[in-house]
């Protein structure tokens, strides 16, 4: 039977919500089209992780277990993918859009002679491929695209679909895999600045984002206070990641991450299109900026015109009252 296969992203043993969103969508498409929806987990503890994926009801959960997958490295991941795809032979392979999946999407498509659609915000099946919507031109425009052949491999923006639990007795099948270190070709020397225990920015419900207006220590302190009060993740504009104020992995926008939280608070951010490209799908946008004409106000639901050093302290106090009541 032809299948839809969802790759489940795992980091430090945790399943990325965005890949369960993709799985939920694939389940739905499988049901509508009389196909099978399966999942693939490639991780040092893939079989343990499989248990957590069962609640989302793929027919078969394929696992590839090897210590080499502790950290992302494209060479072994591509080999594991190729091994798994030889066995499963799906029509569609879907990933959540992450830096890791973007790293291999092109190479995998070239290797499998497959069509590739990157970073889609919607997808559906056609008779011969996949049709999808993709934001382009710094997300000002939506393009309707289509792949004309199977297999099609795609990555899906986080927040594009809701999670739907489904009780099916998933079967777990382990795929045999071995990797010779001498085939690595590239060497991972170290990982710096990993923010393992913090809230995952791309999946956070609340994001407080700092821009050039909040570049000094006092600004950062206020941003941190606001984020921790609301249990939110901290993000930043390019102005501040470039200046080294915030870790580059916190950059939101065209070069950085795409976020779609319930609440996005832009502090001292002008709203350049490349920044907006990464946050325009937030449910509620609040902007604090001293320039009443800053473009961020054009998309903000609640705009606060003023100096952030004067507005944030009372704003934090007011929010504290609400949170604590």
């Amino acid at each position: 039977m032809s299948t839809l296969l969802t790759y489940i992203s795992v980091s430090d043993g945790k399943v990325k919500r965005s890949s369960l969103e993709v799985l939920s969508r694939c389940n739905q498409l499988a049901e509508e089209n009389g196909l099978q929806s399966d999942a693939l987990i490639i991780d040092p503890k893939a079989n343990e992780v499989a248990v957590k994926v069962k609640a989302y009801g793929p027919s078969t959960i394929y696992t590839v277990e090897d210590p080499i997958f502790k950290n992302h490295l494209n060479t072994p991941l591509l080999k594991a993918m190729a091994t798994a795809l030889d066995q499963i032979n799906p029509n569609v392979l879907a990933f959540a859009s992450t830096e890791s999946s973007k790293d291999i999407l092109g190479a995998l498509a070239a290797n499998r002679d497959a069509a590739a659609l990157a970073d889609v915000s919607e997808f559906d099946l056609t008779n011969t491929g996949v049709k999808a919507k993709r934001p382009v031109m710094a997300a000002k425009i939506i393009s309707s695209v289509e792949s004309t052949s199977y297999p099609t491999i795609l990555t899906v923006r986080s927040g594009s679909y809701d999670l739907i639990e489904k009780s099916v007795d998933s079967e777990v099948k382990e795929i045999a895999f071995s990797f010779d270190e001498s085939d690595l070709k590239i060497t991972l020397k170290e990982i710096i600045g990993a923010t393992g225990d913090k809230i995952d920015l791309s999946e956070a419900e609340t994001v407080v984002a700092a821009g050039r207006g909040a570049k000094d220590e006092e600004g950062q302190k206020l941003v941190e206070e606001l984020a921790s009060l609301l249990n939110g993740a901290i993000g930043a504009s390019r102005a501040l990641t470039e200046a080294g104020v915030y870790d580059p992995s916190l950059q939101i926008g065209q070069t950085g991450k795409v976020v779609s939280p319930q609440l996005y608070i832009a502090v001292g951010i002008s709203g350049a299109i490349q920044h907006v490209a990464g946050m325009a799908n937030s449910k509620v946008i609040v902007a604090i900026n001293k320039d009443p004409d800053a473009p961020i106000f054009d998309i903000a639901d609640y705009g606060m015109v003023g100096d952030l050093y004067e507005v944030l302290p009372p704003f934090i106090e007011e929010l504290k009252k609400i949170v604590n009541s």
Binding site: H72, N74, E99, S100, K102, D103, G106, A109, A110, A116, D119, K131, R134, V136, M137, K140, I141, I142, S143, S144, V145, T148, S149, K185, I186, T187, L188, K189, E190, I191, G193, A194, T195, G196, P248, Q251, L263, Q274, A280, K283, V284, I285, P292, F297, D298, A300, D301, G303, M304, G306, D307, E310, V311, P314, F315, E317, E318, K321, I322, V323
Partner: protein, 257 residues
């Protein structure tokens, strides 16, 4: 040692765009060097300055008009350009471009190939790793820093959370983020010199790549405006006052606290 940078001419996302009958209409004069490729060129030039790399060349697939973008890279300081000329209206996707580039590189010498991490207009981010796979080369994507020692590159790759320090032996492919550097603005002297620098032209058919029906695997059917977000309410006045109002609205109206 030679570094070849793949550069693309793209529409300027900052220029006004219209959509008519599902098609994008934009002033064809507003085409620019892809920002991520400008960073790739800059990275190659910095390595050349610091490590005495013999040659930095740029290769571009595009219509006649795209020559201006090759000149831009030469004005920044690249030594040589190669222009693979296409018809004005082609509908290649990343898969097709990567195949053409692979056909080009097949019989050429190079130590490293640099690409941009994505095209600024489409954000696809596919061509670089596709090219690496077609050529059977190791690669790293989304590089935000590059260092060279004994002729081999070490890339700092921005991953999902941390930055991965990756040794990439030559020959290999790197895709560059604009977080890597600030591309230099060509000087007047650079612009003058660029006019005398060699640009080889090759036609797509000369590459001997069989661009059959299947080489373009994705098509764009139409474009539409993104549903616009309406501006909400803007509060001005006393900081305490607007702070109180907005905090309350977030609680009672937006229900997000």
């Amino acid at each position: 040692m030679k570094i070849t940078v793949c550069i693309k001419q793209v529409p300027d996302v900052n220029a006004p765009i219209q959509i008519k009958d599902g098609q994008l209409i934009q002033d064809s004069n507003r085409k620019i060097l892809n920002a991520y490729d400008a960073s790739a060129v800059e990275a190659a030039l910095v390595l050349q300055e610091d490590h005495g790399i013999d040659q930095v060349e740029v290769v571009l697939i595009g219509p006649e008009k795209a020559k201006e973008t090759i000149r831009k890279a030469l004005a920044m300081g690249a030594d040589k350009g190669i222009h693979i000329i296409t018809e004005e209206e082609n509908s290649f996707d990343s898969f097709a471009y990567a195949q053409l580039l692979a056909g080009f590189f097949k019989d050429r010498e190079y130590d490293y190939i640099f690409c941009g991490k994505q095209s600024q207009d489409t954000d696809s981010g596919l061509t670089g790793s596709m090219l690496a796979e077609f050529l059977g080369l190791p690669y790293t994507t989304n590089a935000v820093g590059l260092e060279m020692a004994d002729g081999d590159l070490t890339a700092k790759r921005q991953g999902d959370s941390g930055q991965e320090i990756i040794e990439l032996p030559s020959p290999g492919v790197v895709t560059c983020s604009n977080d890597m550097n600030d591309p230099r603005i060509p000087s007047l002297k650079g612009i003058m010199q660029s006019k005398r620098k060699p640009v080889d032209t090759i036609s797509v058919t000369d590459l001997g790549v069989d661009l059959s029906e299947e080489s373009t695997k994705t098509i764009i059917n139409s474009y539409e405006e993104k549903p616009e977000r309406k501006a909400g309410e803007k509060f001005e006045g006393e900081p305490e006052e607007i702070a109180r109002k907005v905090a309350q609205l977030l609680d009672t109206e937006a229900n997000v606290i």
